[in-house]
Amino acid sequence: MTRDTEVLVLGGGSTGCGIARDLAMRGVDVTLVERGNLTGGTTGRMHGLLHSGGRYAVSDQASATECIEENKILRDIAGHCVEMTGGLFVQRPEDSDEYFQEKLEGCRECGIPAEVLSARESREVEPYLATDIKRSIKVPDGAIDPFRLCVANAIDAQNHGARIETHAKVIDLLRDGDDIYGVKVKHDSGPGKRTHNTAGSTEEITAEYVVNATGAWAGQIGAMADLDVEVRPSKGVMTIMNVRQVDTVVNRCRPKGDADIIVPHETTAILGTTDEEVEDPDDYPEEQWEVDHMIDTLKELVPILEEARTIRSFWGVRPLYEPPGTGTTDPTDITRDFFLLDHDDRDGVDGMASIVGGKFTTYRAMAEDITDHVCEKLGVDARCVTAEEPLPGSEDMSILNEGMDNFGLRSPVARRSKQRLGSRAQDVLDTNECNPVICQCEGVTRAEIRDAIDQSGSDLNAVRIRTRASMGNCQGGFCCHNMANELSHEYDEETVRAALDELFQERWKGERHALWGEQLSQAMLNYALHATTMNRDNDPANGSKAVDFGAFDGGRVKARTDGGE
């Protein structure tokens, strides 16, 4: 029986996209389906830390070793997604000396470069560290943009012939006896790139082999074929600060605990996190006390956090897993290792494997293991090259250094744009057209927005994760509509409006958890701007009666004569 594709990957997070890329590069025909946007699950809801492995150097040395290896690989193949900030494990006076020593030795045993800094040296690196810290261990932690990385994997998979379908929700697994041979998906619109308000269709996609890479949602997928996947979703809160209080990853050097890390991420700093098991990865309480608790704890390391502005908070759900019968009660004790569940070996059901557990930093190594397994099942003999071949945008990072022009942009905007686009900068930014800044907070220009629209259709959240537009301190108040305006060349009024509403609502969702101080002022101003100036709370065009847009004239044509040129 012929199948639509050789391998069908479920889930467009880092694992799924990594697997799709690896398979495609080994010449396997692959289709990936994702129910929302790429990174829409756990990948887009992490703190953006590229682990050195230091974090696991005491508790889980196998993971630690794997982290430092992958850390080095990602710096090579994904240079435009990584910022090597370095990291500090900071010891406060009340933290144990013994643990500090264990951490240091652990790092050395795992091949993680580690150096002890005195309190003074630590504060020279990060002036905002608390005055009473004791000392720190310096390790090669970094910051990584999970959106950019995931999208680059998907693009490269596509470049190697893969089919990537976002907004395609799996509604059933196709099972014939003891054989799983595909899925039934419901496309939000299309198939193909998303266009709002376009009728979607359902589609059966058949495959030789199905890879369930849906992480915290793996249990739900398994249940469709009566398979038990004992994933234990655990939520963690992260809070985004408006500016970078630190330019180095700052970890608390103690055995375990909530709220012990600050990651400088692009223009912001992200505070993390907590660890609490939840029943349903789509429906769990997001509570203010979790945010308060985190700021209260982390201000022991960096006191100005108490006064600093937070722009939003979000929760992510870890796809924790432990083999049945382990019986760990505290989710922080559950291993971060990943598990490949071959349902043939395990349940006697052929044609599918599920991947659970694992962590972002080692996504590529996980994908390699799983791809090896799938290739073995399919009888494909091809070597993995994902550790050597750079991702699109990271092909030649040297051109980003001196010598590349600013494309007529103001220098900080040009610098940020080039950092985001990597080696694609020339292709995207070198335009003869007028190229104004659309998102002022993050310095994103029209050319970059249009490039993202070309990739992803009318979905402005997809544009957001590709460009960072609307992710700055106004949280879209000043740019969502301008982003939507860029859609209007290709899409009709109704589509543009739906896309705008969806983006603005997504921004508001996270901002709700930061409504005090300056961000409250920001929210009030955003409200005034959108409700009053734009009349978006009572727009006649939103009602049932059609507005005759043709009746509007083109505006005043008289040239300005009042001094402006």
Binding site: S118, R135, D247, R309, R410, S411, V413, N473
Partner: protein, 442 residues
């Protein structure tokens, strides 16, 4: 924490004194990113920026300040060159509803730009350095004032200035006084009033020393009229033209002279007064924002505008009520300098002159004069400068007065340049009303 609990620090002793957050080795290395927290992008600063109003290529204070800072990482130095178009009028500071430290961000960014991106061999750098360090050149002019005035008045001097240095050829160089204020003060034998209970230290700045000593003399007579003992401490430039040109090292050197001298005067019981609104602005606001020098906060807290000081400490209104100035002065077209506006002093002159019987001051509106110190002296800014000034020129011409009045030296140059009027300082009018003019050298 007791000494016993002091962390063991095998590398460097004396950790307890180390404070990297407050001790800035150089002002242009300050981390002002947290200041961006206050900005919620409302753009009120942009709508109040006189440069952005007339120059569509200027991105405005919101970009120059919080946006540019927020996009910066610790090691990034690529400040956009447009920061050199900011005239440093500080209107954005007063306009901001949310206390974003805009001018501090601009001053620091500009210094970084000059330090990292402007060639130290360029004409622009040396021209700016010269303009910023007027204090260094002025003594030469003051030594041979007649020769200097003759030279600068020659048409080819202006032509050469524009061609060689990029100084706007249309501008007339300020004339040097035949005797500086400090020379006059020494000749006079210093203070005529001795009063340990009422002492002021006069920060005269450069312009009233070298170019308009009549303003400084007027201040002396008015203050002595109220029974003050005046001290004239050693002093250097206030730093205003240096901030505006990104020459923070020069400004720091000047501040290192000024702050200890002024602090010593405070120790002697004096408050500090200035007749130039930019000098008082600098000592009060920019000094503590940009430098970390011992006593700088104390100097800032004890500095006053000379007229403001009398309004607070004396019954200036009572003394002026019904007074007359005589023949010398007629009505004035008054322009409040931006730097007076930023100190909340923009209303006081019109109010005070309203009390005097035979003279009135007509406010010519709240626009910027456009010269902003050295800004309008640069050939490349001349046009922008005159465009900003247009509104003020127009209002001056419509006011029923033929003489201009202001408290800022460069505003007065611009006012004179745009209208051909003679421009006076408010202290000269107060002197006439309170003491009577033409009092000789007394």
């Amino acid at each position: 924490m007791s000494d016993a609990e002091q962390p063991t620090d095998s590398h460097i002793p004396g950790t307890e004194e180390f404070e990297p957050v407050d001790v800035f080795p150089e002002a242009n290395e300050m981390d002002l990113r947290p200041g961006a927290d206050n900005c919620y992008k409302c753009s009120t600063c942009d709508t109040n920026c006189p440069v952005a109003e007339v120059d569509d290529d200027f991105p405005g204070p919101k970009f120059q300040g919080p946006e540019q800072w927020r996009l910066k990482r610790q090691d990034d130095y690529d400040i956009d060159e447009s920061v050199m178009k900011c005239s440093n009028c500080l209107r954005c500071d007063s306009a901001c509803p949310s206390s974003v430290p805009l001018s501090q961000m601009h001053n620091t960014a500009r210094a970084e730009y000059v330090e990292k991106h402007m060639s130290k061999y360029s004409r622009e750098y040396w021209r700016n350095r010269m303009l910023a360090n007027y204090r260094r050149l002025a003594p030469l002019g003051a030594m041979f004032p007649r020769t200097a005035n003759f030279m600068t008045s020659l048409p080819f001097t202006g032509f050469l200035g524009e061609k060689i240095l990029g100084i706007a050829g249309d501008r007339d160089f300020p004339t040097f006084a035949t005797e500086t204020f400090r020379k006059w003060w020494t000749k006079r034998g210093g203070a005529k009033v001795s009063n340990p209970d009422k002492r002021v230290a006069y920060f005269h700045g450069c312009y009233s020393n070298f170019n308009t000593p009549e303003v400084a003399k007027a201040l002396v007579r008015v203050y002595e009229h109220f029974g003050y003992e005046i001290m004239v401490p050693e002093q250097s430039c206030s730093g205003t033209p240096m901030f505006a040109n990104g020459m923070l090292d020069d400004a720091r050197r000047a501040a290192e002279t000024n702050v200890p001298e002024l602090a010593a005067a405070i120790d002697d019981g004096a408050d500090i007064i200035a007749s130039c609104s930019s000098c008082s602005m600098s000592l009060r606001q920019e000094y503590p924002e940009l430098f970390d020098i011992e006593d700088i906060e104390r100097v800032s807290a004890n500095t006053w505008d000379a007229i403001e000081y009398l309004r607070v400490h004396e019954d200036l209104e009572g003394a002026l009520e019904g007074a007359t100035v005589g023949e010398e002065f007629d009505d004035f077209a008054y322009h409040a300098p931006c730097h007076a506006r930023n100190q909340g002093l923009d209303g006081q002159t019109v109010e005070l002159l309203g009390l005097v019987d035979d003279v009135d001051a007509y406010d010519v509106g709240d626009s910027c004069s456009g010269i902003s110190g050295t800004y309008g002296w640069k050939a490349e800014n001349y046009e922008t400068s005159m465009k900003i000034g247009e509104e003020m020129f127009e209002h001056m011409e419509h006011a029923p007065a033929d003489t201009g009045l202001t408290e800022c030296p460069t505003c007065s140059m611009q006012m004179g340049h745009g209208t051909g009027y003679e421009i006076r300082h408010t202290l000269e009018v107060l002197e006439a009303a309170l003491v009577g003019s033409e009092t000789g050298d007394a």
